[in-house]
Structures are given as C-alpha cells and as structure tokens.
C-alpha cells in the first residue's frame, strides 16, 4: 500500500535532512520526500503533525534470548518490543543456546524473525567455537548465513595468539569484529569498583577490567588491519583510547548503552538489582567522559543493550541476580533526555541511532533516501508516558525506568512500508 506521511518534522541525518515535509512510500520503499513521485496515489495518509519522522532505529545490541532462553524473551516478543520502540533493525549477540557458531542457528534466528515480521533481526556470530576462546568459528560460512559481525561476547579469549588469529581470519574475509571488551579475571565482581562498592560491600569491577582489554584489542586490530567495533564501552578511558586510535587512522568505532549515559554507580545504593548491569554503571566522571565522547566522535552509536529477564532472575540479593536491563521500548525516550539536557541536537541523536550504526554494520538501513526500504519511526517528542513491567511487550520488565515518567513516545513504526506498530 502507498502511504503518505504528512506534516511531520522529517529528520534524516544520512542526507542532512531536517524539515517539516511529507514522506511518500510506495511498494515498501521510500518513493519521495517533499514532492510526490509521478503517478503516486496514497492508499493511506498518516498525519504526523507535531511529530518527528525519522529512519527506523538501528540497535547494535539487543538480546532476543532465542533459541535457548525463551523464559526470558523470544524473537516474537522482543521484535514486538523493538517495533514499539521505533527500532526496525537489531543486532543480537551469539550467546544463545545453542550458541551462534553454526549456520543452522544463525538461519533459525532469521527465519523466526521473518516469520514474526516486526523487525529485522541480525545475528552476530561467535568469534570462537562455543565461545570457548580456543578455536576459530566457521566465520565465512556464518557470514554466508547472515551473521553481520563476529564477537566472543564477554567471554574471554585468554590467548592473545588465538585472538590475533581470529582477527587475521576475519580480516581475510573483510568481516566486522565486535568486541565487548572485558578481562575475565578483573571483572569478577558485580558493580563499579569505587567508594559506593566499598560502602555497600559489593565486589568491585575496576575500570582496568575494560581498559586492559580495550588496549590489547586495539593493538591487535592495528596489527591485523581488521574492521573492529567496541560494543557498550563504559569507561572514559576506553573512549579516549578509541578516539586516539581513530586519530591514528585505525578502522575502529564504538557504541555505548544508553543507561551508561544517564546513570552511575551511585544508583546501586539500596541494592536495587535492576541496576545490576555488565559492564557496570561507572563513576560520574566516566559518565561525563562517555557523553563527551559522543560529541568528539569517539562513540558513534547508542544502543539499548537490551537484556530481558524472567522475574526470578532479579529477585535475590544484588550479586546473586543476573545482570542486564530490558531496554528496547525505552531506548528512544531515554536518548531524548540527551537532547533535553542540551548535549546533542535532535539530528545528531537520530544519527547515532540510525545511519551511524548502519554504517558500522555496512548495511543499507537507517536512512530515508528514496529507493531504500521504508523503515520509518514516527514519534511524538513531547508525549509523556510511564513504562511499566506489566505493559511491556518484551519478555522482561527488568528496568529501573519502569514506573518513571519519560518524555517522547513512538506512535508508528513502519518496516518496509508495513505498519508494525501503532500506538
């Protein structure tokens, strides 16, 4: 069906567009902006007055929990949550069960996602077999089966030799490697190692748990020339190393989870397990550093790091709970706080949620250019609403933002011209 979206503020950083205009969609593709293409007849007109019309968001890290952990989430539910959050493309880590180290698992995830039809779900492949850090995974075959990038998640590759071989092999086939940098031994804890962890008596994870591994990875990236991305960095010093590496001409990029831009370790006071995340919420200085790195182009994308959990996973003393927050539906409103706080302009923010993550992945998404798939997010930047665990579409309501009034709400999401969400 042909759709005309009228009267909205159309923001598409991929073509430096920010104006109140009309968007025309035909046959699932963007058919035109401002002026209707010849012979266009709208089957449906969508009034977007007072709203922002932007490319469907691209989320670089969202755990869909399927296969293997469907008591926490599923492709159907997480896709529905993504659609409600304006996210049309999401990348899911290889830590399913079975792990994404065979083409069959990669295909299963994509088949289920296509069947559901609410979001594009792109699997990441395991960098090593079983994520055990010892033997290379069949990266070429996995890429052929749709794996968009390769990661060992937060599981260690203890041997630098094995890691170097992984990067050489990925470079051979021009594959993207995604690091979720963490030194396994230093990361044995449950929150940032600082005065709050000291006071609460919770085992701390020092900054070095991340920076030591970022440094090792950067050196090996430089040596191998692989395309590399750092996912969910949490420390100011990591961001600085990445900025410095980019200045030296390294082909590296980074993203940050939105909660690391808004919260800090002091939020753990009171032992609310919803603040238990890995990497941990860092210091207020780290938070300030990450925010600056967004401006200095050290960090190109913001993701949800969506990790839905069943209720029991969070009902225990802090250290005994499972880390992670559910975040697909709150990604956009939380990011809009950065605009409200005058850190980013709206188009800058949209870029970090659309064309920039798409460029990191090297995919044709996150844009409203004519001829491209009509993945569109329409949101009311002023709408106030309160997310709740009861109303979430995701399998997990584990988020400290549940019950907090947020500003900015998605009203419509289109995937290839089909409406997959309407408020």
């Amino acid at each position: 069906m042909n759709i005309r979206i009228t009267g909205g503020r159309v923001i598409d950083p991929s073509q430096q567009l920010d104006q109140v205009t009309d968007l025309f969609i035909a046959d699932g593709l963007i058919a035109g902006i401002d002026t209707a293409p010849a012979g266009f007849e709208a089957g449906h007109t969508l009034d977007a007055s007072g709203q922002v019309v932007c490319p469907g968001l691209v989320d670089l890290c969202a755990h869909v929990r399927e296969p293997g952990y469907t008591h926490k989430g599923s492709i159907a539910r997480e896709s529905a949550a993504a659609a409600a959050g304006g996210i049309t493309t999401l990348v899911t880590p290889p830590t399913t069960s079975p792990i994404v180290d065979t083409p069959a698992v990669a295909q299963l995830i994509q088949d289920k996602a296509r069947e559901t039809g609410l979001a594009r779900v792109l699997p990441m492949g395991a960098l090593t077999r079983g994520l055990e850090g010892e033997q290379l995974s069949p990266m070429h075959a996995l890429a052929g089966s749709g794996c968009i990038a390769f990661s060992n998640a937060r599981l260690p590759i203890r041997s630098s030799l094995v890691l170097m071989r992984c990067l050489e092999y990925a470079a051979t086939h021009d594959l993207l490697v995604l690091f979720q940098a963490q030194d396994a031994e230093l990361a044995k804890g449950c929150m940032h190692d600082d005065s709050t962890s000291t006071r609460l008596g919770l085992a701390g994870i020092p900054e070095a748990a991340e920076t030591v591994e970022v440094a090792r990875c950067l050196m090996l990236v430089e040596q191998t020339g692989v395309r590399a991305h750092f996912g969910q960095i949490s420390c100011d010093r990591s961001a600085r190393m990445i900025i410095e590496a980019r200045a030296r001409g390294l082909n590296v990029s980074a993203d940050v989870a939105v909660h690391h831009l808004l919260l800090s370790d002091v939020n753990v006071d009171g032992f609310d397990s919803n603040y238990h995340v890995i990497p941990p919420l860092r210091s207020q200085l780290d938070r300030a550093g990450l925010r600056q790195a967004l401006l200095a182009d050290g960090i190109q994308a913001i993701c949800s790091d969506h990790q839905p959990h069943d209720a029991i996973a969070k009902q225990a003393p802090f250290a005994a709970t499972e880390p992670g927050m559910s975040g697909l539906e709150t990604l956009l409103p939380l990011c809009l706080m950065l605009v409200e706080q005058d850190l980013l302009e709206m188009p800058q923010l949209i870029a970090k949620l659309s064309c920039e993550p798409a460029a990191i992945l090297g995919i044709d998404a996150g844009t409203l250019k004519p001829g491209r798939a009509a993945d569109v997010c329409i949101f009311d930047p002023a709408a106030r609403w309160t997310p709740s665990a009861a109303a979430t579409r995701s399998g997990g309501g584990n988020s400290p933002f549940m019950g907090t009034e947020l500003r900015g709400r998605v009203t419509h999401t289109l995937l290839a011209g089909e409406q997959v969400f309407k408020l």
Binding site: L263, V266, N267, P317
Partner: protein
C-alpha cells in the same frame, strides 16, 4: 538525573523508630545511643537470678543462617530467649538452597508460619535489605551479617564495650586493623564510630586488603602499624577470613603477622591505656598474640557478654517499631 533515595530509610517506621536493623549507616546519634542505653539496662539484668523479661512473649523469632556461625547464632538465640520469644534456629547451608528453592521462596514460607522477626545471616551483601524491602516487609529483619556489607549488631556491641570502658566517644582515636576489604564488621564499625562522634577513625592494612576509596567513608588510611597506632585509644582487630582469600592477596600468614599482627611490641605504639578488641573467633599467632588476647588490655570476653545485651536491645526495639507499623497499615502505603 535519577538520583537514589536514602536506601537506609526502610529501617525506620513512620515515627522514626527502628523497625528493621540492617546497617548502622544513616541512623541518628540519638538512635544509636538509645540502643546502647537499652543494652546497658539489659547487662545489669544478666547478672540477676532470673534473666528473663517478657518483652517478646508470644513472638516468634527465626534465626535464619545461610552462613555457618557459632557465636553470633548462639548469642542471638540467648538474647531472644531472655526476651521470652519462641525461637527457631534454621541453618540453611548453601547446598540446600541450591536444590532449587530460592531465598525468596524460603522466606515467604517462613512468613506464612506467622514469624515476627527474622535474624538473617547471608553471604551476599544486601541480603538483609533485599528481605526487608522486597520479600517480607511485615517481619522485622535483624541483619546478623550480610556479605561484606554490614554486621550492625557486632558494631553496636563494640560501641557498647568502648563506651563502658572509655566513657565518651568524642576524644577517642580508634584504629581498625586487618582485612578491611572483606569485613562487614569494619564497615559497620566505621559508620557507628562516625555517628557517635569518635575524633578519628583509622584503618590499617596492606593495600591488597583495603577497598577502593575507603577514605570516602571518613577514615584515615595507614599501611603500617607504627604510624597507624600512634596515639590510638582503641584498637579493633579484624579476623583474617582465610576462607575468603580466593586470590593473591597476601604472601603468607607469617608475613601478615609480622607486619599487622597485634603483638606486645606493636601495642606499645598506641596510648598506654589503649584497649584491644576482636570480634572473634581469634586466630592466635595470625592476628593477635596470645599474651594480648588473654591479657588485661583485651576486651574480647566483654564483647561477648555485651553482645547478648545489644541483641536484646535491638530485637526489642525493632519489634516495637514494627508493631507500630502493623497498627497503621495506611502509613506503609504512602
């Protein structure tokens, strides 16, 4: 931007009285003094022929120990019995909870038996907060030690021991020596000493046993005994918890003893009337020399006696604070 609220507020009822006792942090000097005064009155009672008072008659106290303990459990049991409560001791080893029942299920089962008070020891920091805030808000929760976080009754019995020997807190310099990193006792002592107004609080340990930014808790940090004990009035030794030493923290017990063990020689660095305390059980020859542990400046056995009185005080106060809340359920809903 999403600033946390005072998490220790849940210890108090709507009138500001104790209804749980989870940590010494964030409590007022008046409240801590009330605990000490109440405990003082129970000490005199312990010397009498009939040692019971009916303050908890008809109440059920469950000692819920997820971590092994002999002396803390027995003093809590004795304290509850002297208050005339019905007492149930449950030693729940980690192996039985790993059979599948969660901590939450265990507690809800016990709550359904109409228990009035849980005395909880657990290996995880925050366990007592979790129980009081998320699981059984209508049951008074007394923290008998949670991970590395807090051991408030131990700290209060230490405060009672100090007050009975030294009088006021204001002039005192107090040093806490040993494994600060893993010690819930040290954390609760530091909060209590600050609130009660001790003039200086020091910690003495090698850097491997000092948690990050401990100075933010209001203490001075020393890494050697000679300067750390200089002019000190009270020395609080900590247990070197060997079972928690899961990595390369110390070269050997003997080197630790040589550098940080409390010996006659090192005691001479402190004031001539300085007293030595230890939460027990003591490792003779690792943390403390026998001659000091058994000597005239040791208050180790006084601590045990005072422990019963402090636990009676806290249990009776928390129970009455909890009852106020039960009579006014609408306050809780606010």
């Amino acid at each position: 931007m999403f600033e946390p609220q005072d998490p220790n507020r849940i210890q108090l009822n709507s009138k500001g009285q104790l209804r749980h006792f989870l940590t010494t942090e964030g409590l007022s000097r008046e409240l801590l003094t009330e605990i000490l005064d109440t405990a003082d009155s129970f000490i005199d009672m312990g010397a009498k022929q009939i040692k019971k008072v009916p303050l908890l008659r008809g109440r059920t106290v469950v000692n819920l120990f997820f971590e092994a303990s002999t002396r803390t459990l027995s003093t809590f049991e004795l304290a509850a019995k002297r208050l005339s409560a019905d007492v149930l001791n449950l030693n729940i080893s980690t192996s039985s909870t790993s059979k599948g029942e969660t901590l939450k299920d265990t507690l809800m089962t016990l709550e359904a038996m109409h228990s009035d008070m849980f005395v909880v020891r657990h290996a995880d920091s925050g366990a007592a907060h979790f129980i009081a805030s998320r699981v059984t808000p209508d049951v008074a929760v007394i923290n008998a030690g949670d991970g590395r976080h807090a051991h408030p009754t131990q700290a209060m019995l230490d405060m009672l021991t100090i007050r009975r020997h030294k009088g006021a807190f204001e002039p005192l310099k107090v040093a806490i020596v040993g494994d600060i990193l893993h010690s819930r006792v040290a954390r609760s002592q530091i909060h209590a000493l600050r609130i009660l107004g001790a003039s200086e609080i020091r910690v003495i340990a090698p850097k491997t046993l000092l948690p990050r930014h401990i100075e933010a808790m209001g203490v001075k940090v020393f890494t050697d005994m000679k300067s750390g004990l200089d002019e000190v009035d009270v020395i609080m030794m900590l247990r070197l918890q060997k079972e928690r030493m899961n990595s390369a923290l110390l070269p050997s017990e003997s080197e630790f003893y040589r550098l940080y063990g409390m010996t006659t020689e090192k005691l001479a660095y402190a004031r001539p009337d300085a007293v030595v305390m230890h939460p027990g059980p003591i490792n003779r020859g690792v943390e403390i020399e026998s001659a000091i542990a058994d000597g005239p400046r040791s208050l180790i056995l006084d601590q045990v006696t005072n422990g019963i009185a402090v636990r009676m005080a806290v249990m009776s106060m928390a129970m009455s604070g909890q009852m106020v809340e039960r009579q006014h359920p609408q306050v809780q809903a606010q």
